[in-house]
């Protein structure tokens, strides 16, 4: 398999940022109480990680080693603020629902982690592919979790009543402990997928230098 394909596929399952690397969990558990929030958060986060990895990889030779962390934070914070402003202007409802979690993308460990471990050392196309893979890996887990939590905890999906009116919502799933339970289930699901993936002919050996 070509290295670029491997780099992209890494983030989906084998090195899923949430279920395998297990970083950026706080906001993931907090926003997955409704599907709309899950979609909004994953889009915002994917945009910020792609843009940040792109810019940082582009300027990686100009960033001095000793001040790289402040520079990473400036770049990530700038993109996060842009997302926040754009959402406030064009999607006020979503922005209201997401509250404080959009500004908190700045300190999302996934972005910091990938920028530090990958984008600062790799070429632009690989950095963007890595960001897309990580972003999509984050997205499917986040949306999956929010579907389960909103469906069981509120009987709805995207605010539309799916289960019959007589269904008594299990509030537990919307509360933080329910978040942990659902997250644990997604970790197991992801481990299962990873095992299948590595056994299948598609299974890519860990691309060295993939980190």
């Amino acid at each position: 398999m070509k290295r670029s394909t491997a780099v992209f596929l890494q983030g989906l399952v084998i090195e899923n940022p949430l279920a395998i690397i297990m970083i950026g969990l706080c906001s993931a558990l907090a926003v997955t109480t409704s599907v709309a929030n899950g979609i909004g958060m994953s889009l915002a986060m994917t945009f910020v990680i792609v843009a940040s990895e792109f810019i940082i990889s582009l300027f990686r030779k100009l960033i001095p080693e000793s001040v790289r962390i402040p520079i990473f934070i400036i770049i990530i914070a700038a993109f996060t603020t842009m997302v926040d402003l754009v959402m406030k202007a064009y999607f006020p409802e979503l922005s209201k629902a997401m509250g404080v979690f959009i500004p908190l993308i700045v300190v999302n460990c996934i972005i910091m982690g990938r920028v530090e471990a990958f984008a600062s050392k790799e070429s632009v196309p690989h950095a963007v592919l890595d960001a897309l893979g990580m972003g999509l890996g984050y997205t499917w887990v986040l949306i999956g979790m929010s579907v389960v939590r909103e469906l069981l905890g509120n009987g709805t999906i995207l605010g539309i009543q799916v289960l019959p009116e007589t269904y008594q919502p299990i509030l537990f799933f919307v509360l933080p402990p329910g978040g942990f339970l659902v997250f644990a289930l997604f970790i197991s699901l992801n481990l299962f997928l990873k095992k299948k993936w590595l056994e299948s002919p598609l299974g890519c050996p860990d691309p060295e230098g993939g980190k």
């Binding site: 907090a30 409704s34 770049i75 603020t81 402003l85 064009y90 629902a97 404080v100 605010g159």
Partner: protein, 199 residues
């Protein structure tokens, strides 16, 4: 050593300025849109609470909050043909995760006309249900959390779990929002009675 510090400082400053320029561009594009969005939301909310009124004037400076934690952001005297028909107050106070903003309309007779949640960032599915039109504290009568304030007298005690029904598992949100409504209603009825309305 000094030289390298200087160099690092310049590099950092360059990156920061680059980010600033990019942000300034985005801010200039989105700023006016955000402002009109907010204005439109406020106008729509005022019109929604007092559909019969045909004008309003800003009376923010004439009101004061009785609770140091709760702040009156703006207040409007709603008029119809020049005479006062009620007062709308936008007030903010601390809630579970951060400040919540409510818009309350108060009638001339000192009852609450309607309450709207303009901003709340409490837990989705719990405290945020205060703003959910499909979440009922009284399922049988289909009354929402803020809907229960309709027609309530300013002189009522406003105690959560006594005369105010709480949102399930969100006592803090319920208490904070109730306090904001109470302070707004008191300030509004003080203004109304100063203007010669009913007690």
């Amino acid at each position: 050593m000094i030289k390298s510090m200087f160099r690092l400082g310049i590099v950092l400053a360059l990156f920061a300025s680059g980010a600033c320029v990019a942000l300034a561009v985005v801010y200039n594009i989105t700023g006016p849109v955000i402002k009109t969005q907010e204005e439109r939301a406020l106008n729509a909310a005022l019109k929604d609470i007092f559909p019969e009124s045909d004008g309003f004037s800003d009376i923010t400076k004439e009101l004061s909050s009785s609770d140091p934690k709760i702040q009156i952001l703006s207040a409007y005297a709603m008029t119809k043909g020049g005479s006062l028909v009620g007062v709308a107050i936008k007030a903010t106070g601390p809630s579970y995760s951060s400040n919540a903003i409510l818009l309350s309309g108060i009638n001339m007779d000192g009852t609450i006309k309607q309450v709207r949640v303009l901003q709340i960032s409490d837990t989705p599915g719990l405290g945020a249900n205060a703003a959910n039109p499909g979440y009922y504290v009284d399922k049988a009568k289909k009354i929402t959390f803020i809907g229960q304030f309709e027609g309530k007298k300013v002189t009522d005690p406003f105690r959560v779990k006594e005369d105010v029904q709480a949102i399930t598992a969100s006592t803090i949100t319920s208490r904070s929002l109730t306090a904001i409504v109470k302070v707004s209603a008191e300030a509004a009825s003080a203004y109304i009675s100063r203007k010669g309305g009913a007690k």
